[in-house]
C-alpha cells in the first residue's frame, strides 16, 4: 500500500486527527525514522480552506439569516453572528482547542484536557497528522481551521431564537455553549490516536484512545453531527426556552430581503468548499471528491426543494431554492469524502424534501418558533446526511469505503446494517449531549440575567432598542 492509496479517512470518524507527535506517551512516533514534514501544497490548501469557512460565517451566514428577519431586526442578527464568532475565536484559543484536541485522561471518551490551554506548546514547529500515515500539517494551521468550525456552529444556533433574544444573553451563550457542548462534541467525534498509531497497533488499542462517537465507528467527514445536528438541537432548545415571538402566527413575519438571503446562501455554498474539502486535511483527490460532492448534492437539493414546492403549493420559490441549497450542503457534510458522486446526488434529492416537509408541516403542527428553521434544516438535514453516509460510503454504491488502518489500509465496508447502526448511535449521542447541554446553558442564562428582551423592545425592534442604530436610513 502506498501512502497515496491511503489518503482517506480513518476507520471511524474522519475529519479529526490524533495529536500523535504531541502526546507524551507516543513520542516514539517522531523518533521513528525521519519525522514527517508538512507538505506545502497541503498547508496552502488548509490556509485557503480556513479563510473559506470564515467567509461562510461573515458575511455568508450573517446575510442568509439577516435577509430572513424583519427590517427592524436586521442589524441585531448581523451583530449577533459577527460578535458570537469573535467571542468563540477567543474562547477557542484560550481553552477550546485544548478541550477538543488533547487527551482528556479519565474523561478522554468525552472531552480533552487543559494541557494546551492558551495554546501552550503549539508553535510553528509542531505538527498534527492528517488521515494518511506519515502525512502532517502544521498544528497552528489546524488550530485556525478548527477554530472557524467552532465559530460557525455557535453562530448557526442564533437563528433559532432570532428577533427576541437579549444581546447580553447571546454573549454569555457564546462562551458557555461551546465550552459545555461544542468542544466535548468535537472531541467525541474527531479525537483519535491518528493513522500512525492505528497502522501499528490493534484496532482495539486505537479505539481505546478515541472519543466516544469515534469508537462507535460512526463516520462524519466534515461535521454533520458536531456542527449541524448539534447546532440544530441547540437552536430548538433555545427557541423553546426563550418562547415564541410576539405575534407569531398572527402578524406577518415575512423575510425583509430575500435578495440578501440569496447572496448569503451563495456565499455559504462557496465557503462550504473550505468546510468540506478542507476537512480532508490534505490537498489530493479526496479533497476533490469532497468538492465534487459538495457541488452535486447541493445542486440536487437546490432542484428538489423548489420542485416539491411547485407540486405541493403551485409555485417554486427563491427561498425554497436557497433553503434546498443549504439543506443539500448540510446533508453532504458528513458524507463529503465518503460518498461517490451519484450517491451525493441521491443524498441531496432525499434530504431536501424531508427538510421541506419538516419546516412546512411538522413544525406548524408542533407549534414551536424556531425563527429561521435551524432545527428543520440543520438538524433534520444533518440526521438524513449522517444516516445516509452509512449507506453511500458502500463501495458497491460507488462510495469510497472506510480505511482499516490495522489491516494495512485496506478499504472496507462492514455492511449497511452495521454502519447505519453506528451512524444512528452517533446521531443519538449528539441529540442527547446537545439537548441536555443546551438546556443547561440556556436554563442558566434564563434564571440569571434572562434570555428575552422586554416586550416593548421586541415590538420596536432589536436594532434601535439593543444596538441604537437602524439598518436602512432611507
Amino acid at each position: 500500500m502506498t501512502i497515496e492509496s491511503l489518503k482517506k479517512a480513518g476507520h471511524a470518524t474522519l475529519a479529526g486527527l490524533g495529536m500523535l507527535a504531541m502526546t507524551a506517551g507516543m513520542a516514539w512516533a517522531q523518533e521513528a525514522a525521519a519525522a514527517p514534514v508538512p507538505d506545502k501544497g497541503d498547508t496552502a490548501w488548509m490556509l485557503v480552506s480556513t479563510v473559506l469557512v470564515l467567509l461562510m460565517i461573515v458575511p455568508g451566514l450573517a446575510l442568509f439569516y439577516g435577509g430572513l428577519v424583519r427590517t427592524k431586526n436586521m442589524l441585531s442578527v448581523l451583530t449577533q453572528v459577527l460578535v458570537v464568532s469573535c467571542i468563540v475565536m477567543i474562547v477557542w484559543a484560550l481553552w477550546g482547542y485544548s478541550m477538543a484536541f488533547t487527551d482528556g485522561g479519565s474523561l478522554d471518551n468525552y472531552v480533552g484536557g487543559f494541557s494546551k490551554a492558551l495554546l501552550a506548546g503549539v508553535d510553528t514547529s509542531t505538527v498534527v497528522e492528517t488521515f494518511s500515515r506519515g502525512v502532517v500539517i502544521p498544528e497552528i494551521v489546524f488550530v485556525a481551521f478548527q477554530m472557524t468550525f467552532a465559530a460557525i456552529t455557535t453562530a448557526l444556533v442564533i437563528g433559532g431564537f432570532a428577533e427576541r433574544m437579549k444581546f447580553s444573553a447571546i454573549c454569555v451563550f457564546s462562551v458557555l455553549w461551546p465550552t459545555l457542548v461544542y468542544f466535548p462534541m468535537a472531541h467525541m467525534v474527531w479525537w483519535w490516536p491518528g493513522p500512525e498509531f492505528a497502522s501499528t497497533n490493534s484496532a482495539e488499542a486505537t479505539v481505546a484512545g478515541a472519543g466516544l462517537i469515534w469508537t462507535y465507528g460512526a463516520l462524519d467527514f466534515a461535521g454533520g453531527t458536531v456542527v449541524h445536528i448539534n447546532a440544530g438541537i441547540a437552536a430548538l432548545v433555545g427557541a423553546i426556552l426563550v418562547g415564541k415571538r410576539i405575534g407569531y402566527k398572527h402578524e406577518s413575519m415575512a423575510p425583509h430581503s430575500l435578495t440578501l438571503t440569496m447572496v448569503g446562501a451563495s456565499l455559504l455554498w462557496v465557503g462550504w468548499f473550505g468546510f468540506n474539502a478542507g476537512s480532508n486535511l490534505e490537498s489530493n483527490a479526496y479533497a476533490g471528491l469532497a468538492m465534487l460532492n459538495t457541488f452535486l448534492a447541493t445542486a440536487a437539493a437546490g432542484i428538489a426543494w423548489p420542485a416539491f414546492e411547485w407540486i405541493l403549493k403551485g409555485k417554486p420559490s427563491l427561498l425554497g431554492a436557497a433553503s434546498g441549497v443549504v439543506a443539500g450542503l448540510v446533508a453532504i457534510t458528513p458524507a463529503a469524502g465518503f460518498s461517490g458522486p451519484m450517491g451525493a446526488i441521491v443524498l441531496g434529492l432525499v434530504a431536501s424534501p424531508i427538510c421541506l416537509i419538516f419546516v412546512s408541516v411538522v413544525k406548524n403542527k408542533l407549534g414551536y418558533d424556531d425563527s429561521l428553521d435551524v432545527f428543520g434544516v440543520h438538524a433534520i438535514g444533518g440526521i438524513v446526511g449522517a444516516i445516509g453516509t452509512g449507506i453511500v460510503v458502500d463501495p458497491a454504491l460507488g462510495g469510497a469505503g472506510i480505511v482499516d488502518y490495522a489491516a494495512g489500509g485496506a478499504s472496507v465496508y462492514p455492511g449497511v446494517a452495521t454502519q447505519v447502526t453506528a451512524q444512528l448511535k452517533g446521531v443519538l449521542t449528539t441529540l442527547v449531549w446537545s439537548g441536555i447541554g443546551s438546556t443547561i446553558v440556556f436554563g442558566l442564562i434564563k434564571f440569571t440575567i434572562g434570555l428575552r428582551v422586554k416586550e416593548e423592545v421586541e415590538r420596536e425592534g432589536l436594532d434601535i432598542a439593543e444596538h441604537g442604530e437602524r439598518a436602512y436610513n432611507m
Binding site: L319, S360, G376
Partner: protein, 112 residues
C-alpha cells in the same frame, strides 16, 4: 376646476402620463399607495409560513384640470390604465375651490 384622483396599476403610469401630457394637463402628483378593492390580496408563502397580503401596491395620481378638460382626461386615464383584468383601479373626481401657484401668486385657471 376639478381634482382627479386615480388609483392605477403601477406599470401603467408611463402610458397615462404621456396621454395626459398630450392633452395639455400641466402637472401630476404620484404617490405609491397600498389598498384593496374587489381584487382583494394574495397569499405569500415563506417556507412553512403563509401570510395573507390584503393590501396591494398601487399608484395614486392626482391631476388638477379645468372643468372643460375633465371628460378628455377621464377618457385618457380610463383607456390607458385599462387591462381588462380585475384590479385596474378607480377614478375619483372632486370639485376644486382654489389653486395658487406659489412662485408667482397666480390663481385658479392661470395657476393650472
Amino acid at each position: 376646476m376639478k381634482l382627479i384622483t386615480a388609483i392605477i396599476k403601477p406599470f401603467k403610469l408611463d402610458e397615462v402620463r404621456e396621454s395626459l401630457s398630450a392633452l395639455g394637463a400641466q402637472g401630476m402628483t404620484v404617490t405609491e399607495v397600498k389598498g384593496y378593492g374587489r381584487q382583494k390580496g394574495h397569499t405569500e408563502i415563506y417556507r412553512g409560513a403563509e401570510y395573507a397580503v390584503s393590501f396591494l401596491p398601487k399608484l395614486k395620481i392626482e391631476v388638477a384640470v379645468k372643468s372643460e378638460m375633465l371628460d378628455a382626461v377621464i377618457d385618457a386615464i380610463t383607456s390607458k390604465a385599462k387591462t381588462g383584468q380585475i384590479g385596474d383601479g378607480k377614478i375619483f373626481v372632486t370639485p376644486l375651490e382654489q389653486v395658487v401657484r406659489i412662485r408667482t401668486g397666480e390663481t385658479d385657471g392661470d395657476a393650472l
